[in-house]
């Protein structure tokens, strides 16, 4: 069970949080401290509000808006690294007998037309941390104009029933595809929005242009990149998750101010101690002070924040357990950067850009941004987590059969079976099926399960998936080191 406490710095700023509280309800009114430490059984995740504490009373991120009784904070909980874990959803279900606005029928249920209040109707959120994301079918562009997709879409099976629903399904008056995804963390946006280069080599084009501002943007927002700016994301989220269509310019400005200032990272490990101790530079302070959008291969190597732990002096004054854990984290960073394997049949990597299929590289081929491990170029890539034959069995999810009308998909062929077409639901292009925007790798511990469809219940499962998918051949030690590294991010 988690417990939250306010750091010494925040105490100095005279802000307190309710003792033992982990859930931040809309309208709670508790000031957001400059530094917020969330402790769990394995350590502490720290949130840093760069620039100082902030009143949340009346703040549009924290106040309920719209018809569902939710605020942004409902699904972006400070105690979950500004995302939401499945465990937290389950606890909230028990605490409120399923009455919390978190479980709103619109997306907190497997389908809005299921019997609300019954656990089975919310099983995807409770068991897998998944929210229903309804995408228009056929897709629409940023001007809400229909896109003619170059593939057909059929439902093979749907245990949620939503894609066959007369009100919410593909044949409804407002046709939509229901897919189920994890909420992304609202933090570290300096990095998510950063543009290291003006181009996206993976698609052979310049970075996308935000239609509202006419300016180039990173293209790293949201799982399927359906919006290009935080402002558009706010409106999209307010509409679809809050039932609110009246965000004002001032609301957007205040949310943006908060989102620009919030950083999250693991700060302390139960065994290893402080992650910025002994020359290491873990924790959110480094994130707040570093320049974003830098390519690790040209500057600070990805996760070299733990390089000082590669050779810990004999007189470091730490316990043998601490030493072993810190060395493991440092080894994990090396494995992350240096363990080479053949990347195969992954659209966005092996096609259409000419890296080759296969291409030998390591995790940092895609997770290449210093400090953050995001993709400096927009990260729409298909790892296969949602698409057969690479996806692990996910019988709880809908399965779609997509048939390419034009050229076949470069790796899956003409007929594709997927739980989530991903980026293709934005572009309408067969070649984009299964592509998902890379996630940020910071503050991971508080927000299991992982991958966009929540298919990895814990960090070890993430490593195991990659090991299977790309036949990497990690040793048991390497797997433990990678898990420790990810737990230290």
């Amino acid at each position: 069970m988690k417990r939250s406490f306010v750091s010494a710095l925040a105490l100095l700023a005279a802000f307190t949080l309710p003792a033992g509280a982990t859930w931040w309800s809309p309208g709670d009114g508790t000031p957001f401290p400059a530094q917020y430490d969330d402790a769990d059984a394995d350590g502490v995740t720290r949130l840093l509000l760069d620039g100082g504490p902030m009143e949340t009373k009346g703040h549009p991120f924290f106040e309920a808006k719209g018809t569902y009784g939710r605020a942004c904070v409902t699904c972006h909980q400070p105690s979950d690294g500004m995302s939401l874990s499945a465990e937290t959803a389950r606890i909230r279900w028990q605490e409120t007998a399923g009455k919390d606005p978190l479980f709103a029928a619109i997306d907190g249920a497997n389908c809005p037309d299921l019997a609300q209040g019954e656990r089975a109707s919310h099983s995807l959120l409770l068991d897998h941390g998944l929210f229903r994301i309804a995408r228009p079918w056929p897709p629409v562009d940023h001007d809400e104009q229909k896109i003619e997709p170059d593939f057909t879409l059929e439902v093979v099976r749907d245990p949620t029933g939503c894609n066959a629903s007369k009100v919410w399904g593909l044949s409804s008056p407002n046709p939509q595809v229901s897919v189920f995804r994890r909420p992304r963390p609202v933090a570290n946006f300096k990095y998510i929005l950063a543009m290291g280069f003006a181009i996206d080599p993976k698609v052979g084009k310049p970075l996308p242009i935000d239609p509202e501002t006419g300016k180039m943007v990173s293209g790293n927002l949201m799982a399927d990149r359906r919006v290009l700016s935080l402002e558009a994301q706010m409106r999209d989220a307010a509409h679809s998750h809050l039932g609110f269509d009246a965000l004002t310019a001032d609301d957007i400005k205040r949310i943006r101010d908060f989102e620009d200032r919030i950083f999250v990272a693991r700060q302390r490990d139960r065994v290893g101690g402080d992650l910025d101790d002994g020359g290491a530079k873990g924790g959110p302070e480094t994130l707040a002070r570093s320049q974003p959008g830098r390519l690790g291969s040209m500057g600070a190597a990805v996760f070299s924040e733990f390089a000082a732990w590669e050779k810990i002096p004999a007189d470091a004054g730490i316990t043998p357990e601490q030493r072993a854990w810190r060395e493991s984290v440092a080894r994990g960073a090396r494995v992350f950067r240096e363990k080479m394997f053949l990347i195969t049949d992954s659209a966005g990597i092996n096609s259409p850009v000419g890296f080759g299929n296969p291409v030998r590289n390591s995790c940092v081929f895609c997770h290449n941004m210093s400090q953050m491990g995001m993709d400096v170029a927009p990260g729409q890539v298909d790892l296969g987590t949602t698409t057969m034959p690479f996806a692990d069995p996910q019988p709880h999810l809908p399965l779609f059969r997509l048939t390419c009308k034009g050229p076949a998909h470069p790796h899956y062929g003409r007929v594709i079976h997927t739980h989530d077409p991903g980026y293709a639901l934005t572009t309408g292009r067969c070649e984009d099926v299964g592509k998902i925007t890379l996630q940020t790798l910071r503050g991971l511990t508080g927000r299991a399960p992982y991958f966009a469809s929540g298919s990895a219940p814990d960090l070890r499962a993430v490593i195991d998936y990659y090991d299977r998918r790309y036949n990497i051949g990690y040793t048991e030690q390497e797997k433990r080191d990678l898990v420790n590294l990810m737990g230290a991010l």
Binding site: A198, P201, G204, K205, R294, V353, G356, V359, R360, F365
Partner: protein, 259 residues
Amino acid sequence: MQRIMAALLALLSFNSVAQADDAVRFISCPVYRDTDAGRKSGCWLAEERETGQRFDITQSATKPDWSMAVLVEGRIAQKQDNACGAKVLEPVRVSILPDQACTRAVIPAEGFPGRRFVLPPRNIRPLYAPDPVPPPPYTDKLFPIPFDYGRDFVVYQQSDWMLVNAATYAKASGGGVVITGYAETEPMTLSGQTLSEPASLARSRAEMARLWLVSLGVPADRVRVEWRLNPAPLADPAFDGLTETSRRRVDIRVSGQTP
């Protein structure tokens, strides 16, 4: 003057290529040799069926896909390192032919080391450390942009760098820009197969170049786009002496003066 000299040198190079027996063009299925000298160090091989010679095509900016045939256009390198266990082609251009399926072939390193990845000279600088803007005076300048056979995809660490250079120059000069896209629709027979590009590719290549220039800051109203078929080969350093590949290109002509 520099451009003219470079073009002349390239033309000489083209002539020697055209006449020399070190020029190679063929279609084949690629073979991946699983060497490991770090990132991007695997070897790509392809056998010319007509002669039974296996070539190392790894140095192409576009690498093959193991399930698709490739069009190989290159020249036997003067310097052979045998890093991959086949005769090295360099320069070399590989075009993927997605309509021609191949059986995947991966062979072990067999003692060949492969090559450590070296950042190629044609790579775009990051936004936080851009190349300096070219100084005046700004004269009329041609930027030819190569494309792979059958594609309008901008080749990474090759054509993308050239497009950025064109955009940088056009922004600095303030002059007008004329983009001419080309496609090679005249059939060519290689390895017993006839290839020809669709005429529509000329336009889509030109539009792609326009997208790049405008996105990179060249005012749209200064850019004019046209497209044509089957140009004469162009001897230009952009093609590394593989002048036959230049028929699949876009020409970006930047005026040195504000229109």
